[in-house]
Amino acid sequence: MSKANGDIRIGVYVCHCGTNISAVVDVKSLAAYGATLPNVVVSREYKYLCSDPGQDLIRQDIAERKLNRVVVASCSPHLHEQTFRNALATGGLNPFFLQMVNIREQDSWVTEDKQAATRKARDLVRAAARRVAWNESLERDRIPIHPAVMVVGGGIAGIHAALTLANSGKHVYLVEREPTIGGHMAQFDKTFPTLDCAACILTPKMSAVKSHKNITLWTYSEVTQVDGYVGNFKVKVRRWPRYIKEDLCSGCLECLKACVYKEAKFPDDFNVGLAKRKPIYISFPQAVPQVPVIDPETCIQFKSGKCKKTCIDACGERHAISLQMEEKTEEVEVGNIILATGSQPFDARRIPYYGYGVYPNVYTALEVERLVNASGPTGGEVVLRDGRTPKSVAIVHCVGSRDEGTNRWCSRVCCMYSLKLAHLIKEHTGADIFNFYIDIRTPGKGFEEFYQKLLNERVHFVRGRVAEVTDWALDPSEENKLVIRVEDTLAGIVRRIPVDMVVLSTGLEPQADAEQVRRLFNITCASGGFFLERHPKLAPVSTFTDGIFLAGCCQGPKDIPDTVAQAGAAAAEALALIDAGFVETEPNAAYVMEEVCSGCKTCVAMCPFSAIEFLQEERKARINQAKCKGCGTCVAACPSGSIYQHLFEDQQIFEEIEGILTNA
């Protein structure tokens, strides 16, 4: 129970934050006002309270003026509550005797009228001074961290994070829902700006994952349930049946050759529908694990029970094929989770006037990646669907990006990959290439130089957003061609440019199930649907849920160098927690005053974390302090006022309300 214990001595500190606060809020008068409040023994203003000298100021006053409460009026507690709590702690005062007042993000930065902003700050400081008198000394609990980590998503982000962690000696569960790891990068041919072969740099990492003793690789699997909290997650993973036993399969792929389907007939997702596969298939030859999958939706045996099962014969003595395999659920304990679930390409059909799905010679960038790839469906030949080699190609930038009608953001990688495709297509076909752009965005290392190279290769660049792709010919030169209608904004004219092939540089967007995934892990999405990071600058790989980190495009569009960097960062954050061994809790758990609890059980139904136990013998409710997350719902529901909450006591909140509304 909290009480305004003894002699309260408050120090009030008003931060200028350079001019961020002081340009709008009259910090001097605010500090002067602070001095007039009850129990305030010192009230100061300072340019940068979060700096070392700023914190020293507070520490000095704690020692010399015997402060036992501190109010800091500055930025959002989300930024510096920890900083100032540490300042109190190192100054010899329990860190929870701090109360912060947000006069920057929620006052000086959002208010035009200076007087109104100052008045608002005064009300809030007064409220904080009243509230802080009721703060109590609290200690943080320590939660141990289980050393294993789960990485969800086996693209380059997940692979890099997993390897980093595994190399440091930690055990990693890498869960990937496709039958193979590799993600989108495995579909690329060459990567910008160096034109490295994607497979050449990716496959060694993929096999390192496979052979690493510290990595448990579960492909064709997905997470179905997450319980627990940082340091102690319990995760359920559903493993779909491949119908081929991983530990027995040698990867010879004889079963594929032997399948009764002599011709492949079903859409091949890896080749983005440009090729076909059999019911028994492997995504690509270097897949990891090198084990095929049988698709029960298309396999004759599963559909009718009447197949000759030539695949099983071909497998012979290894007996790796098992058509009775069932799905399995694994349950593991991990201390941290890294989400590397990637992104999906924008569906070009959503912009019908670009003709994708209407005109056969309109392609998406990913389809063209597969065309130029030597191991792709055309063996690296850039050919149209009717077999002709294009003599002119249009590459349309910003399809589904920077677009009010679809996605407003810039997808970051498309300018570079559009330049890359321009180069590769020219190399493969010698065709005339036109890139239609709004801006050419080349911020990375070597990127601008790559663009210059393209200019030297005589690729045509037209600055204008393509209005339409049409097959309506207005003159003989446009017959049997696709015509790009575009305003050339540098030349100041509307142009019609006939081409054989149109490539749509589709943007990146969140995976289709991003919303379900984020609920599974209890994190939030930002506007746009990508997973939300804790802070865009200072915590780009953390989330607001402790122990859950982000890597790669699931957090926002980015290229491979940034993805790998972020994956390493996420691994480092997880390692920091694991090596520290524990994480400290925010001491805001609710607790029952058992002497006065009447056993009405209203609270028990309130807790989604099952933190409230009803003790049958004593007829009282008891809250498990480790399980309690501190939401306070039970506190508000308790009809006899017998549940309290540290850091958010009723008394403290009433003081804050009354401080806001009543002049001191």
Binding site: S598, C600, C638, G641
Partner: protein
């Protein structure tokens, strides 16, 4: 010299007077132990008798009823001056009680409703050189503690014989609790209720029912049956008399000391257990409770945080 006690009634129903009589034989012990110097319902002492007493000469005045007119205000102040201890007797004195529901209206509104097309009362009446006056009728009913210093509170509508007996005993003995204490346990009613074990641990309700809509089972927790039992938010002490009578608790013992507004907390407890997350469905379930103010503030409106409906 026997200690002197006084009883007075303000805006009340008379039930608290009967509660004293309900002490049965024990009333004789009381009568033997004390000198009742003022009790309008039973004895013939007058106001001027009280005025004549020295200040502080009455050991304890037991005042029931709320303050809603100038006469009650005057008498409350008078008795306060003449008494060492004032006990707010019953929930009307403690929290405003049922008369407090008048705060959903005001003097004008009440008179218009009560007297409608009839003859409205006149404050001053003169006839043949005599004059008769009625007290001023306030717009707002307040609890006793709002107009005078109250030493102890006896909750209940009315307080039970057990509670009254205990209070009298404490006052006449030397074991006085701290000033301001409510003389009943500081826990909710569920503690005393014989049905408490039948409330499921995780109770969530899909419907509320009113008492006339269902014949309640005699053994099962009334809230679990969908009746709006306010027991979880009401102070214990009455030994769950109403649930024993197969009726849900209506909250006459007021809140525990840890609650500032009885109605708000009771509302929170009942709303929180509605088994729906959909706004439309929640509203439909709550349609079964057509008068939230009457239900949750039946006894405590004047003492609530808002105190009364906004005056026009």
């Amino acid at each position: 010299m026997k200690p002197k006690v006084a009883f007075y009634w303000c805006a009340s129903c008379g039930g608290c007077e009967e509660a004293v009589v309900d002490l049965d034989e024990k009333i004789l012990d009381v009568a033997n132990a004390v000198d009742i110097v003022f009790w309008p319902v039973a004895l013939d002492f007058k106001e001027h008798d009280v005025e004549a007493m020295p200040d502080g000469s009455i050991l304890a005045s037991f005042i029931n009823g709320a303050i809603r007119n100038s006469d009650q205000l005057k008498m409350a102040k008078l008795l306060r001056a003449k008494s060492q201890v004032v006990v707010a007797f019953g929930v009307c004195a403690q929290l405003g009680g049922i008369p407090g529901l008048a705060n959903l209206s005001d003097a004008k509104g009440i008179f218009a409703e009560v007297f409608k097309d009839g003859v409205a009362p006149v404050r001053l009446h003169q006839n043949n050189g005599h004059s008769l006056s009625l007290p001023e009728f306030f717009d707002t009913v307040v609890e006793l503690g709002r107009v005078i210093d109250v030493d102890y509170y006896l909750p209940g509508c009315p307080p039970t014989p057990k509670i009254i007996g205990a209070a009298l005993g404490a006052l006449l003995g030397s074991d006085l609790p701290p000033k301001g204490t409510v003389l009943a346990p500081d826990q909710a009613l569920c503690e005393e209720c014989p049905r408490k074990d039948t409330r499921p641990e995780k109770l969530l309700l899909k419907e509320f029912k009113r008492v006339h809509q269902v014949v309640a089972d005699q053994q099962t927790c009334l809230l679990a049956q969908g009746l709006a039992c306010l027991g979880p938010g009401t102070r214990a002490g009455c030994e769950a008399m109403c649930p024993r009578g197969n009726m849900p608790c209506t909250g006459c013992f007021g809140p525990t000391s840890r609650v500032r507004d009885f109605g708000a907390k009771a509302l929170s407890a009942l709303a929180s257990v509605i088994d729906s997350d959909d706004e439309v469905e929640i509203a439909r379930v709550l349609d079964a409770l057509p008068d939230p103010a009457g239900l949750f503030y039946r006894y405590s409106l004047p003492s609530s945080l808002l105190g009364r409906r906004r005056m026009e």
